[in-house]
């Protein structure tokens, strides 16, 4: 026991952990060029043990403690030192406070990691939404006259057959692609057979792509699945976010614009045609879309403004005016959300994220749209508290030393 305490309260452990942390952060930064920001986060920081690393385009064999392990060990080290070596003296006050602040920060970050949720709200001017979309998670939904069954995309594995009590059929997953590409099957040039002979796949080809690495791009998932009843197969379909996400659909329209506006419109309308299947007289419409979280209130985008500095494209301001409608509390008010000025409401914080508005959108004849980043983070206050404690602690300690330094000097 004594050995155990000595190990976890030792300064040498702190030093070793700090050194490992420096190496890990450095490698995890370099690796972002190869693995992308999110890939590197998962590989190095949100990880217990790191096996192998990517640096400058090379794979390097190494074993390192990951961010979680280092964080937890540092936390144990800190707490143990506090518990077993705490002494209250003026000399140590600043140091104690600073270390307590570091504990708050570490605990706060671990809790953020476990509890926080990042969502998005995409709306066009005038649109009202009572839900937010996940930026990373998707769901396959079956809608039978308003009764929605949502299956998280994560649960779909190629080869599995899922049975859901609310659905009169099973889902046999044939393909599930994290990231995919979509192409229109031009009528005269169908060189490869369609994926399936139903729905979307008649007019569009889908194919698997590697996961994206760049920071502001995302994966576009696609699944191919067969629906079966005991009586036999109902058919095979393709469901894809390509057909659900408004921004992607707009991008498809622009991509085919060179074929003429009419043709682009035709392609888009074929892309967004709802797919459905009828079983026992009941119609099930299905789609793969961003996972939704419903709120007990709604937001309406009243106006999206994007201003630039005169004579340049340098963005000066992004601003969304929204109306909060909360039937429960009877609230109905307008607020402005802009860069650095988020809205905190109903346990979520709404940040201005992306925007398609201003002159560019106006000239292209697009309705202004705005994307809010919606975050729930119960630990959001911990950095403020932790920073204050460490700052104050270090300042006290520093002034204490400085006072000692100045008074110790011999008089001239």
């Amino acid at each position: 026991m004594n050995l155990f305490v000595r190990f976890f309260t030792s300064l040498k452990l702190t030093v070793v952990l700090l050194a490992f942390a420096i190496v890990l952060v450095f490698i995890g930064t370099i690796a972002q060029a190869d693995e992308g920001l999110y890939g590197a986060q998962a590989h190095y920081f949100k990880q217990w043990i790191v096996l192998g690393a990517h640096m400058f385009g090379h794979k390097i064999p190494l074993i390192l403690p990951g961010g979680y392990l280092l964080g937890v060990l540092l936390l144990v080290n800190l707490v143990a030192s506090h518990v077993f070596r705490f002494e209250f003296s003026r000399k140590k006050l600043g140091i104690q406070l600073a270390h307590a602040g570091v504990i708050v920060l570490l605990v706060g970050q671990l809790s953020t990691d476990l509890l926080s949720r990042e969502l998005q709200m995409h709306f066009t001017e005038g649109q009202t939404l009572n839900y937010s979309d996940s930026a990373t998670d998707y769901e396959l939904i079956f809608n039978a006259g308003g009764e929605v069954t949502a299956i998280p995309e994560k649960l779909l594995h190629a080869g599995d057959e899922l049975k859901i009590s609310s659905l009169p059929f099973t889902i046999r997953v044939q393909q599930r692609w994290h990231n995919s590409d979509m192409n229109y099957r031009a009528p005269m040039m169908q060189n490869a057979p369609a994926l399936t002979t139903n729905g979307l796949a008649v007019n569009f080809d889908f194919r698997k792509l590697d996961d994206v690495k760049a920071m502001d791009s995302r994966n576009i998932p696609t699944v191919v699945f067969e629906l079966r009843t005991p009586a036999g197969s109902l058919g095979t379909w393709v469901a894809s976010d390509w057909a659900s996400d408004a921004a992607l659909i707009e991008a498809v329209r622009n991509g085919y614009a060179q074929m003429g506006a009419g043709m682009a419109q035709k392609i888009v309308s074929q892309l967004v045609v709802p797919q459905s299947v009828v079983v026992d007289g009941k119609k099930f419409t299905f789609a793969l879309r961003a996972a939704r979280v419903y709120h007990p209130f709604s937001l309406t985008l009243l106006k999206a403004t994007h201003t630039t500095y005169p004579g340049t494209d340098i963005p000066k301001d992004f601003r969304s005016r929204v109306r909060i409608d909360n039937a429960k509390s009877g609230e109905k008010r307008e607020v402005e959300i802009s860069m650095n000025h988020p809205l905190r409401y109903g346990g979520y914080t709404y940040y201005q994220y992306q925007m398609d508005a201003g002159q560019m959108a106006e000239q292209a004849g697009r309705t202004p749209t705005s994307v809010l980043s919606v975050v729930r983070n119960p630990g959001w206050l911990t950095p403020y508290v932790g920073c204050g404690m460490v700052g104050a602690g270090l300042l006290i300690q520093f002034l204490y030393h400085l006072a000692g330094f100045v008074t110790k000097r011999p008089k001239k």
Partner: protein, 670 residues
């Protein structure tokens, strides 16, 4: 005599340098064309109101990497090549390209690019580095073809040659923009062409309407009118700076846009400002200074009623440009640093001269407090004895560093007022501010220790950071507007300033450590007391650095939380700052745990230089993340060189003591 000299030398030297600096403040007098006054005209460029003088200097920095034009660069300085100020150059580019196009202003360093453009080598009428627009034009098609290919290569994957192409493309574009900001670049007699256009607006509109309605119309007039419109369209499409002041509902306007606006049903007719510019253009091309100056005065008086704020701001910025405080400070830092370094060696020589026997008792360096305490020297009565040469040099250096610091501060504050921003808004101003903070810390250290060490640190870091700033200024307008997410003075003042002070103090600790190694290994001047005092300084500064880098980094996280809802995103710049915090914390824990002593501390502090350089510049070179600003290849090479040099110093620091000169001098020293 000698005493008086030594007494007054410091103040005298400072006075000389101060006069040198103040002498540069006066704007050059205009001989015929009032180019200085021309430079004070406000316009809108890069999204802000700037004087023409700033546009001229920034454009020249981007194109020629200098703020003036040498029209005969093949001549040696002793042959008096003709040097013209930026405003005169800009005026000619805008309004008299027949002359300006022959000036060799495009700097080309890449030999492959020189041969691609078939430019002459060094020789008669060529210095092999600077070429004119007219010299480049014959090969422009070849260049465009290459450029088209290069633009498709991702910036991070470009070769040196491809980078040179991309840079040349930017320079040519900028030049073309300037050429099309007052008149169409191909105008032969702009005042006449403008008045023709103005007179033919009604006919032109009538002809265009008739043509559209399928009725008979005047073909000659119509064709000429359409040709004029096309030229103006070309001008507007290049998006040159906005020269014309607001008129009615219109904000600052581009000349091309205003000319296109005039024939429109609700357009602003061709106004006085357009005419005044045309008159200036005609007068410059016709070499009529009086007419030029008269038109310039008309334009100014036109601005007075509505644009007095812009005029004031423009005048203030021109004064700042003329002052060049960071250049002045940089020169004085060099001088001060040399004097401080000499002060470490000067003592021995003086001690040897018989004229000052008292000084023979002085220790080997002027660290009076420390030596006195360590008891190696008898206390000398400073009040009576003439100051040693060493002390005179040190005091001269103190005065000079203070002078440079005052100039540096003036520049920093002036910039803040001009911009209405906290001190650090971009990479350029971070260099200015890191230097400023380090100099301040160095002066404080010198105040306490009086041994020249703080001075050397202050002047060396001051000089290096200002050199870095000078090179960063080549990227363009250093007072650029802040993008939406950065447009917050609160966070710029708290997060950015704290992090930058963290950088500055980490560098101070690192440079103190360098002094320790250099003096210890190569000189006999590092005795036990000096070593100990250096180590104490380093320790204190590392504590200070930990405080500021930590607070700054966490404040950055809080800013991120405020603006996009995540406290920490493992973005490269964030990680760079985090590594500085971790490194400083590691040093402190190593020291507390007794795992390192004096020399270990010194070596760790030098490594802090690498860590800080990585965070300041290295992460930008990864080209990923929210904070990356792009970089130049030269910057990368310098960074590598810096890192290697610091590793070499650490290597020196690890040498066995028997190889240290100071240790051999007094074995107990280290």
């Amino acid at each position: 005599m000698k005493t008086i000299l030594q007494k007054w030398l410091p103040a005298g030297l400072m006075l000389v340098m101060a006069l040198w600096f103040l002498g540069n403040l006066a704007a050059p007098k205009d001989k015929d064309f009032a180019f200085t006054e021309f430079g004070q005209l406000p316009l809108t460029a890069n999204g802000r109101v700037v004087p023409l003088d700033s546009l001229a200097r920034n454009s020249l920095l981007a194109i020629r990497e200098k703020q003036t034009v040498n029209t005969e660069p093949w001549k040696g300085w002793n042959e008096h090549p003709k040097i013209i100020p930026a405003t005169e150059w800009l005026a000619n580019v805008m309004m008299n390209p027949a002359v300006a196009d022959n000036w060799p202003v495009f700097r080309v360093d890449n030999p492959d690019l020189v041969s691609l453009l078939k430019l002459p080598d060094k020789g008669d009428k060529s210095d092999g580095k600077h070429y004119s627009w007219n010299q480049i034009q014959p090969a422009i098609d070849t260049f465009e073809k290459e450029n088209e290919r290069v633009q498709k290569v991702e910036a991070a994957n470009r070769t040196a040659y491809e980078n040179a192409i991309a840079k040349m493309h930017e320079r040519l574009t900028l030049y073309a923009q300037l050429k099309n900001s007052v008149q169409p670049a191909d105008a032969q007699d702009w005042p006449a062409e403008l008045s023709w256009f103005e007179q033919h607006i009604p006919d032109g509109i009538a002809a265009a309407q008739a043509q559209q309605a399928g009725k008979p119309y005047d073909k000659t007039n119509f064709t000429a009118f359409v040709a004029a419109i096309e030229r103006f369209q070309f001008m507007a499409n290049l998006e040159p700076p906005l020269l014309l002041p607001p008129n009615g509902a219109r904000e600052w306007r581009r000349m091309g846009d205003a000319l296109l606006d005039a024939p429109r049903p609700n357009g602003v007719p061709i106004d006085a400002a357009i005419h005044d510019w045309a008159k200036m253009a005609g007068a410059l091309a016709g070499n009529q200074p009086d007419q030029f100056n008269a038109a310039l005065r008309d334009l100014r008086s036109l601005l007075v009623p509505t644009q007095s704020a812009a005029l004031d701001k423009a005048r203030a910025e021109v004064f700042f440009n003329q002052m060049q405080p960071f250049y002045g400070a940089m020169v004085i830092y060099i001088l001060a640093g040399l004097l401080a370094i000499f002060s470490w060696f000067g003592a021995g020589e003086v001690a040897a001269t018989p004229s000052s026997p008292k000084l023979a008792a002085m220790p080997g360096h002027p660290d009076d407090d420390q030596t006195r305490r360590s008891g190696t020297a008898t206390p000398s009565d400073e009040g009576v004895a003439a100051p040693s040469l060493s002390e005179t040099l040190r005091r001269s250096s103190v005065w000079l560093v203070w002078l440079a610091f005052v100039i540096h501060t003036t520049g920093l504050v002036y910039r803040m007022v001009l911009e209405g921003r906290p001190p650090v808004t971009n990479l350029y101003s971070s260099a200015i501010f890191i230097g400023w903070g380090a100099v301040l810390l160095g002066l404080i250290l010198e105040k306490f220790h009086r041994n020249g060490i703080g001075l050397v640190v202050a002047s060396v870091i001051g000089f290096i950071t200002l050199i870095i700033a000078h090179h960063l200024a080549l990227e363009g307008d250093t007072m650029e507007m802040m993008r939406a997410v950065l447009d917050t003075n609160f966070w710029l003042a708290t997060h950015v300033v704290s992090v930058t002070i963290g950088y500055a103090s980490t560098y101070v600790a690192g440079f103190l450590a360098l002094i320790y190694i250099l003096r210890g290994v190569f000189t006999k001047t590092l005795d036990a007391a000096t070593g100990k005092s250096l180590a104490r300084m380093i320790y204190g500064i590392v504590c200070f650095a930990t405080l500021f880098s930590f607070v700054g980094t966490v404040l950055g996280g809080i800013w991120a939380d405020q603006s996009w809802g995540r406290f920490w995103g493992w973005d490269p710049k964030e990680n760079g700052a985090l590594i500085i915090v971790l490194w400083n914390a590691l040093i402190l824990h190593l020291r507390w745990g007794g795992l390192i002593r004096e020399r270990g501390l010194v070596n760790c502090a030098i490594f802090g230089n690498i860590v800080t350089a990585w965070s300041w510049f290295g992460v930008n070179m990864l080209g990923i993340g929210l904070h990356s600003y792009g970089f130049t290849e030269a910057a990368f090479q310098w960074l590598v060189l810096f890192v290697v040099s610091q590793l070499a110093f650490i290597g020196l620091g690890l040498l066995p003591l028997k190889w240290w000169k100071s240790h051999r001098a007094t074995p107990a020293a280290i």
